[in-house]
């Protein structure tokens, strides 16, 4: 009955959710992520099974022939080939690590925004424009720097900077729209993805197109600006960049946990009113956190150009969307992004093998991407089927770390023209904020 009382006011939900969150230990969050992953794999296997049934009669001998139809794909074989495709050889491992490296950047990008209470679905657009800026900046500066290692390092620096700046500016736009015009950032970031893709395509096809190429792409950056393939001696992957990505993740972790900026950012995400009360300019924080998030996406784009492609091309893969899954799987924790990116990188690396060897479309990974997000979003499900902790009918509407739920309620808060009308909700939030800060234990 007290539950239904609290259900009435939107903002009260934040406090309620975070109150529960205090009880959710890190272990539990990891368990939920793993359970979500396992369930996604099971449902993915069903999808494979059903699609093999739809496909029948099969091209080769069916894996399972029944009275009512044949099943062409063996899910266990699919996952086995996927695993082998991800780690089976040095070459495959390099492909996996290449994907992992890219996903660390996009995962971090989404995670930073999440932590600030914003859904950045626009990492894809920030990455696309960042990649273009990188390609163009490097091509533009290249004639002025010496060839060889020194020039290469300068060019890499210029490229990364250009990607970060352009991605950051593009990310700051939805941040500012949210802060000053209250435009829902989920929709604006998605719309800006379309705009970014269209803009970049037009710029390249009309102005910066490589005259010798049939497709829409820029000229290639000079060889010394590309990250050198190292360790595994496979093109398109450089261990230096992976190490850099790991250091960046640690850096972001430190930024969020160890600095005033990070504290303000997290508080704005978890307890906007409390942050405001504590003197944080929440509007400016929205802009700067989205700019940081966009910059990380832009660096992802820079790495895509400087490590993988060597030029900007139309049809850059969905790394930004994968980053959402990586971040959610990681509980939006920068360190957690590393294993999550490896896991997802393995799926992407292995997906090429299942398409090549078994003719199972590599888009299967796209299905898993969505399923993981769905299952992580419903921890209550795992509680119900798993151990009964005595949580019973309690509300636990929280995603990976609660910032997701915050945002949904954020929309509620925003809907009020004036904060004064929600006094009771606010009070409960501020009450809970003390609890939350203590309970979060850092």
């Amino acid at each position: 009955m007290s539950d239904s009382d609290r259900d009435e006011s939107g903002p009260g939900r934040i406090g309620r959710t975070l109150g529960r969150l205090v009880d959710a230990s890190a272990v539990e969050r990891i368990l939920i992520s793993l359970a979500a992953l396992a369930l996604s794999v099971v449902v993915g296997a069903l999808v494979v099974l059903v699609s093999g049934f739809i496909l029948s009669p099969c091209a080769s001998s069916p894996f399972l022939a029944t009275g009512f139809g044949d099943f062409c794909y063996d899910p266990l074989e699919v996952y086995w080939v996927l695993l082998q495709g991800a780690f089976g050889s040095t070459f495959n491992l390099a492909i996996t690590l290449k994907e992992t490296t890219l996903l660390v950047f996009t995962g971090l990008s989404v995670a930073v925004a999440f932590r600030a209470g914003m859904f950045n679905i626009g990492t894809q657009g920030q990455l696309v424009l960042g990649a273009l800026a990188t390609g163009l900046a490097v091509l533009w500066v290249a004639p002025f720097v010496p060839a060889g290692l020194v020039g290469g390092v300068v060019l890499m620096g210029v490229g990364l900077l250009a990607g970060a700046v352009v991605g950051g500016v593009w990310g700051a736009i939805p941040g500012a729209l949210k802060a000053y015009a209250d435009a829902n950032e989920v929709i604006t970031t998605i719309m800006l993805n379309f705009v970014a893709t269209g803009l970049a395509f037009t710029l390249v096809s009309e102005v910066f197109k490589d005259p010798e190429s049939q497709t829409v792409q820029t000229r290639s950056v000079p060889g010394n600006a590309e990250f050198p393939p190292s360790l595994l001696e496979v093109q398109d992957f450089s261990i230096f960049v992976l190490v850099g990505a790991i250091l960046l993740a640690v850096g972001i972790f430190w930024l969020l946990r160890g600095t005033t900026f990070g504290y303000d950012l997290r508080t704005s995400g978890e307890q906007p009113e409390a942050a405001e009360y504590g003197g944080v300019d929440s509007k400016r924080m929205m802009v700067s956190s989205m700019a940081l998030s966009g910059a990380l996406g832009g660096i992802g784009g820079a790495v895509y150009v400087l490590m993988v492609a060597g030029y900007w091309q139309s049809g850059i893969p969905d790394l930004g969307f994968d980053g959402i899954t990586v971040s959610i799987l990681a509980g939006n924790n920068p360190i957690g992004v590393l294993p999550a990116a490896l896991l997802f990188g393995a799926l992407k690396g292995g997906s090429l093998a299942i398409e090549f060897d078994l003719a199972v479309p590599k888009e299967l990974v796209g299905v898993l991407r969505g399923l993981v997000i769905l299952f992580v979003a419903m921890p209550e499900f795992f509680r119900m089927i798993g151990a009964r902790y005595g949580y019973g009918g309690d509300d636990y509407a929280v995603a990976a770390d609660g910032s997701g739920a915050d945002d949904a309620s954020d929309a509620d808060t925003d809907s009020e023209p004036d904060d004064a009308s929600e006094t009771d909700g606010e009070t409960s939030q501020i009450d809970d904020s003390g609890l939350e800060d203590g309970g979060d234990g850092r």
Binding site: S4, E8, F119, I121, A181, F194, F381, A399
Partner: protein, 360 residues
């Protein structure tokens, strides 16, 4: 800053002004060689063209149906941000079902069957979303994102399984319904009385949705379920059932929109990139926010967005040599501009919240 306190019509006016401004700005940037007035004249001739208006109506179908669905879900208290995914699923299913029933060349009956199956599948997807949100108390925004991403993965996956590529082969579309005599009226005739069945369904759905929301007890339940679920509970109406109905309706209506796009207009499923739906579900969300949860307002906003979408085809036909990709971003830019103007809509106060009946 204080848009929320302005009356709805003022806000709407500001939004429209913003739209016009954005369009003019775009024109100015796009055609440096042609002064705005010149282009304005061309635009007027285009817009006054019955063909243009009927193509806008056809383009309005997926956006407006998604918007209508979104209204029911969100008013009942469940924010369904997965409308885009529902459009994708039904667009794909309609094509796959019609092609499976009729081989490469399904007849009208088979198309309609495919349409029905697509609407059913979309509704089932919405049911799944409803269960996840209502039974398992998932965060609605993240679950909605998941619906979109699952559809974005599943549709091209299934396309490749069935057709070996992410795009389907081309099949026929619904024949227009021509109403004798009335279709002879100049301008109005070809627009309203010689149109795709989807357009008729849309017009009926807009009126029916408005009626259901504003003149029936079901509409009052939907309203209460989103604004004050406890009061609804107190008078003995099951909040969960109302919310399930709201979400299922969003699946049903989005299903019509997606199937209407694929076999109502295009005759193909295109699964590359962001698929043929290409953000129309997200635009639909903006449309109902812009229309302030009123079906007529949502329809008007959808029509506006669709008219910008249609403009790109027409401008190219007229012979302006502008990169299509650049004109293609106009609707999305407009959505961002509109959102900046109408950001502070008043969403139902309990939307996004899980409701727990006191009896449990």
């Amino acid at each position: 800053m204080s848009f929320g306190r302005l009356p709805t019509d003022r806000r709407l006016l500001a939004g429209v002004a913003g739209l016009v401004l954005a369009a003019l700005l775009a024109v100015e940037v796009l055609f440096p060689a042609n002064p705005v007035t010149d282009v304005g004249a061309v635009l007027v001739t285009i817009v006054a063209d019955a063909n243009y208006v009927s193509s806008v109506l056809r383009l309005t179908v997926p956006i407006a149906f998604a918007a209508l669905g979104g209204i029911f879900a969100e008013k009942s208290g469940v924010i369904n941000i997965g409308l885009e995914g529902l459009l994708i699923i039904s667009a794909f299913t309609s094509l796959a079902a019609a092609a499976a029933l009729g081989g490469g060349d399904p007849n009208q009956t088979q198309l309609w069957l495919g349409f029905g199956i697509a609407v059913l599948v979309s509704t089932l997807f919405a049911l799944l979303f409803a269960i996840v949100c209502i039974e398992f108390k998932a965060d609605q925004i993240i679950a909605g994102l998941a619906v979109w991403l699952i559809a974005l993965g599943l549709a091209p996956f299934a396309s490749k399984v069935i057709w070996g590529q992410v795009n389907s082969p081309t099949i026929g579309t619904f024949n227009n319904w021509t109403i004798p005599v009335l279709s002879e009226i100049p301008f109005v005739g070809p627009v309203l009385f010689d149109a795709s069945p989807m357009v008729y369904m849309l017009l009926v759905a807009v009126v029916a949705s408005w009626y259901a929301l504003n003149r029936t007890s079901f509409g009052r339940w939907i309203e209460a379920s989103g604004e004050n679920p406890k009061a609804l509970d107190t008078v003995g109406v099951d909040v969960r059932r109302v919310r399930y109905t709201g979400v299922l309706l969003s699946g049903f209506l989005s299903g019509i929109g997606g199937a209407g796009l694929a076999i109502g207009r295009v005759g193909q499923f295109i699964g590359g990139g962001t698929t043929m739906v290409n953000g129309r579900g997200w635009i639909g969300i903006t449309a109902y926010l812009f229309g302030n949860y009123n079906p007529f307002g949502a329809f008007g906003a959808s029509f506006l967005f669709a008219s910008l979408d249609a403009l790109q085809f027409r401008l190219q036909q007229v012979g302006y040599n502008i990169p299509s990709e650049l004109i293609g971003i106009i609707p999305y830019v407009t959505v961002v501009v509109v959102l900046a103007f109408v950001g502070r809509t008043r969403i139902p106060s309990a939307a996004g919240d899980h409701y727990e009946s006191g009896e449990e």
